[in-house]
Amino acid sequence: MTTPTGATTDGNTSRPGSTSDLADNATTDAPGDPGFRGLSPGQLMWRRFLRDRTGVVSACVVLFFVAVAILAPLISMLYGKNPETHYGQEDVSLLTDSGLPTGPNGGMSGDFWFGLEPGLGRDVLTLLIYGIRTSLVIAVATSLLTTVIGVALGIAAGYLGGKTDYLIGRVIDVLMSFPSQIFLIATMPVVTSLLVSPNEKNPGWLPFVAVTLVLSLLGWMGLARILRGVSLSLREREFIEAAKVTGASPMRIIFKEILPNLWTPILVQSTLALPAFVTAEAGLSYLGVGVSEPTPDWGRMIADAANYLRTDVTFLLFPGLAMVVFVLAFNLLGDSVRDAFDPKTNR
């Protein structure tokens, strides 16, 4: 598991602000987008996105997952099972003595469509659909938090420059120098103990908040670095100079002039970071410092299932497949969003 420290896997981090290149296209060999003349960049982006079939399909898949997450209680009501009941322990015929489902294929049956979880004998399907909620909530919260931190510090460093830039730059250097896996593991108990004292009851939000905080701690530097670069170059541009000359306050310049020009890298980076946080969250669960029982969680399901690989691959199949599809769809969506914003990469 690596924490998403920016789109290091993509070649174009060095040129994130290339929407401004759009205008030049017509004079070079590309015919440009003559059909789009007169549309705003947002509309252009949207139309380009709609034409990207992979993007639309992956957006549908992502929306499907989101819908399932939101409708989880309804689905579970219609299906007649819930993720809390230990079916396998209430009906002893369902599990063997050592906790494996008695039925073949992980106990898949008309009652339990995706089978039963070994041990507690909960219903895999409902665990899975409630698990999306956990993954999504944490990934979205972490993306938001890292985006806020990244944007704030990135712009501060790039726009204010000087000592602020230097300080933020060194903080980023230090954080990026930490071996991330051991750092995440070591930080988790500290964060937990800071949130709740050992003698207090653990509230339900604790694992969510703790995981989000820990992931965010090492997750914002990539975006901040990119935004620093962009705002550094924006600072020198004429319209900022103009705004300064007219006496606009730094806050106004940042919010009215700089921020609107950063939406592209922000949106692209966040869309790409989200699936990375899904896997990172699962990775934490795999390392045993993630979201704990009884909150359903994919990473924990996969970690559990990895133990049963040889006994019955079925346990790995559903969460593994769901995870791969989910992450794949999100990655593809991120690619498409980027392409829509920046057609030059022409992937």
């Binding site: 017509a26 004079t27 015919p31 987008d33 003559p34 059909g35 034409r51």
Partner: protein, 355 residues
């Protein structure tokens, strides 16, 4: 001096055959939005040692035409028809290997922005020498010497040391000089200069144009000069072709076209250009509207939505019929206005504005 005689000379060429002869060239790109007709049925000739200026707005097909001459389009997405003959050799449909041998040797190109057009990773000398080695099989040493020689010719000071510099170490004008040196290193017979001065300061522009002219005289190279700046053309070229929406709308010698333009689009171009001798009280008048979509061209004359004179055409042919470029040789324009109308309008309405 008769205005009719000159075009004969040009199209016939000094040796009787043009060095580059383009006939009915069409270039189409298939894109997600539809087929873009970037160049549509274009014909023109370039005689050895002469300069043809191609003028037009962005997206009028100037650059595409010349990239097609060099064969630089992505074959997967581009459909090229018609004929391009370079020194008698057909280029359309020629194998890539053949084209590679011609590019840089018989024909070469100077690009608009030397900063992006030169590789930042290789020294100037390498980039110049590389072309020489490729086409002559010279040794590294010979190539380097040749590069220094070329740099000297294009007027780079201290060429023996600058030859090892990288493009970013050069100023804009020097870069363009280096670019020219690179394109001329094999003494090509045709140089296509795509907006060679657009990215440069005005003073440097003049230097570069003079340099091109000098070199042309020295080496007898034919030049195609692509620009949207009529001033540049006036200074450098013998012939002009005005392009609009992938077609030639007017063609003739520099004198003919600039002194007695016949196409409303050319008028528009001229009107939008400031002149030192013009009346400062008359405001510049750009061509109204925007260039048309090359996917859905307006029916009839593609310029009709922007044309101020289409009502003058009897029968409204402007929106229904596409005017051909006529006459076939000499000063020609593609417009439904008849010769008299053109002359009247130019003299009455346009000329006063130009001063």
């Amino acid at each position: 001096m008769t205005t009719q005689a000159k075009p004969e000379e040009v199209s016939a060429g000094s040796g009787g055959t043009p060095f580059l002869s383009v006939r009915d060239l069409s270039v189409r790109f298939s894109t997600e939005d539809g087929v873009v007709r970037a160049v549509d049925n274009l014909s023109f000739d370039v005689a050895p040692g002469s300069t043809l200026g191609i003028v037009g707005e962005s997206g009028s097909g100037k650059s595409v035409t010349n990239l097609a001459v060099l064969g630089l389009h992505n074959p997967d997405r581009t459909e090229i028809s018609g004929s391009i003959k370079l020194d008698g050799q057909e280029l359309v449909g020629a194998p890539n290997r053949e084209l590679e041998k011609l590019r840089g040797k018989k024909m070469s190109m100077i690009f608009q922005d030397p900063l992006t057009a030169l590789s930042p990773f290789h020294t100037i000398g390498k980039q110049i020498g590389e072309t020489f080695r490729k086409h002559t099989g010279a040794s590294k040493k010979e190539a380097r010497d040749r590069a220094i020689e070329m740099l000297t010719r294009v007027g780079i000071p201290q060429p023996t040391s600058r030859v090892d510099d990288y493009p970013h170490q050069f100023s804009g004008g020097m870069r363009q000089r280096a670019m020219i040196a690179m394109s001329l290193v094999c003494d090509p017979k045709l140089v296509i200069a795509d907006e060679p001065t657009t990215a440069l300061d005005v003073t440097v522009q003049a230097q570069i144009l003079d340099l091109l002219k000098d070199l042309q005289q020295e080496m007898g190279t034919a030049i195609i000069l692509i620009t949207h700046d009529l001033g540049v053309v006036a200074r450098t070229a013998q012939d002009i072709m005005v392009m609009y929406a992938g077609r030639a709308v007017e063609r003739g010698t520099v004198r003919e076209v600039l002194k007695a333009p016949q196409h409303p689009y050319t008028w528009g171009l001229l009107s939008s250009m400031p002149s030192l001798t013009g009346d400062v009280n008359i405001p510049l008048k750009p061509v109204r509207g925007t260039p048309p979509s090359l996917i859905n061209l307006p029916s009839g004359c593609p310029f009709n939505p922007r044309c101020d004179f289409r009502e003058k055409v009897i029968g409204g042919g402007c929106t229904s019929e596409r005017p051909p470029l006529s006459p076939a040789t000499g000063h020609a324009a593609a417009c439904h206005l008849n010769q008299a109308q053109r002359q009247d309008i130019f003299i009455d309405q346009i000329k006063p504005r130009l001063g």
